[in-house]
Amino acid sequence: MTAVRGVGQFYPVASPLHALDPRAKVVATALLVVGLFFVDSAAGFVVAGSATALLVGASRVPLRAFLGLLRPVAFIVALTFFFQVFFLREGPTLFGWGFVEVHEGGLEMGLLLAARLLILVTTAGLLTATTAPVALADGIEDLLSPLKRLRFPAHEVAMMMTIALRFIPTLGEEAQKISRAQAARGADFTSGGLLARARALVPILVPLTIGAFRRADELAEAMESRGYRGGHGRVRYRELRFRARDALALLLTILVVLAAVLL
């Protein structure tokens, strides 16, 4: 039984990354993502990039899962890259070709921005691919819980995440069912301009939205009837344990980020 796995979904294999505490992984990811914005040298990107590549290898998640993740951002990466290459005119000219000029500064900036985006997406993908949805929600709830004192609804946010993750596949299936039904009645989603295609989606989105409201209603009733009353007095089924290896992982992350930023 191999369910179809969407892009950026949990990939249930056994790996050292899967075994880490989700809180450690969320913090490490945040550190890497924030750190990346302060990396501004080629050497720094080599460090960050090779660290990410090592993690991808260690995750035992097949490469194609990451490629699938990168495909939609490839366009943005390419756009950013060419924009910098052709329009940033700093440093010595590498070559000129009529009004097209490529400067060293532009090429460098293009490469750095492209690298930053690629590493960013891969890092985020690593987190979701190696962390079960429930664990991810539990981890985020724990990390946000200090904010509870400021009345931040940490438990509710985590519960919303869990429910969203539970219902995304269900709604996806429903969308497919509706669009097949519409196609059988002659709807055409594949031809025409952007506007025509967007208009063809309306007959799918309307029933889907109405269906989602009905589902939400029934789900709320089911949750209430099962004794749900928010996070208060609740005991979570899964226990998160912060072990030595999680501390080690965080320490390594901090070192890598520092090295990449300072280089």
Partner: protein
């Protein structure tokens, strides 16, 4: 002494705001511990409203309700840990992205200790025959399997009462059989209130209630109810072929073709005795 009963309702009345007239009016009945009660009636008869009132999802306008000794309107959580509801749509009852976590949901809400939770979750999953499904995601399951996961979630809490609101209505025949088999296995160990449109699911119920237009129009054993042709017609209740044939022939209630054959034979024997005039 109503409080020794698992469920007791007296003069229960409820109107939805903005509804046309009461959805339930003056409903009274009792279910003793371990009894199996069926509830039938036309759409809009008030069956789901009754279930909601019994579980504290709605509070009655007037009348008295007790479920497992508690008033669901004032102590909903006491009631909910003792009475579980299985709803119609198996897709919208499951909360968590994995079977195991969903079965644990009710226990999490009750604040059951983690070690005990594990044991009870495993046991409940086994009780519905889904061992090995712990890490499956709900959307990969069949309707019958989803409904069994939902049932496991109720059983894990260990309720005295089960309220089933048409749990088989959206299932295919194999799914229906799976779920019914598990529900039958709970007879006597729990009090069951089973709402359904399939009368054959209630042939071995202790009693069957008929709700029509918000009123309780009958409360009788299935043999009696299902051989009353007028009552069935007035409440738009449709029997499966064999018992319907028996009713139409004016024979006593028959569940199986064998019983029908026996009844026909017995009748013709009796008749031939009478006709030998």
């Amino acid at each position: 002494m109503a409080d020794t009963a698992s469920i007791s309702c007296k003069d229960l009345t409820y109107s939805y705001t903005g509804g046309f007239g009461p959805a339930l009016s003056g409903v009274s009945f009792e279910a003793g511990q371990g009894e199996y009660l069926g509830v039938v009636g036309p759409n809009g008869g008030g069956k789901s409203t009754l279930v909601r009132l019994l579980n504290g999802l709605l509070a009655a306008d007037s009348g008295r309700v007790r479920v497992a000794g508690f008033d669901p309107a004032t102590e909903p959580f006491e009631v909910r840990r003792r009475a579980g509801v299985l709803f119609q749509n198996p897709d919208n009852g499951l909360v968590a992205p994995f079977v195991e976590d969903d079965v644990a949901f009710g226990l999490e809400n009750l604040g059951v200790e983690r070690a005990e939770m594990r044991g009870r979750v495993g046991e409940a999953i086994r009780a519905v025959g889904l061992s090995g499904y712990e890490r499956r995601e709900p959307h990969t399951l069949s309707g019958g399997e989803k409904q069994r996961v939902a049932l496991a979630g109720l059983l894990a809490v260990g309720p005295e009462v089960l309220l089933l609101d048409e749990p088989t209505a959206m299932l295919d025949p194999p799914g229906r059989r799976e779920v019914l088999e598990r529900v039958r296995g709970l007879r006597r160990s729990r009090t069951v209130l089973h709402v359904t449109h399939h009368l054959e699911e209630l042939f071995d119920a202790d009693r069957v209630l008929v709700l029509n237009g918000g009123r309780l129009v009958a409360d009788a054993p299935p043999e009696e109810l299902f051989s009353d042709a007028d009552l069935l017609r007035e409440n738009r209740l449709v029997l499966p072929t064999v018992p319907r044939l028996a009713v139409d022939l004016g024979l006593p209630f028959c569940r199986t073709p064998e019983e029908l054959a026996d009844a026909v034979e017995k009748r013709s024997r009796d008749n031939s005795g009478v006709e030998a005039r």
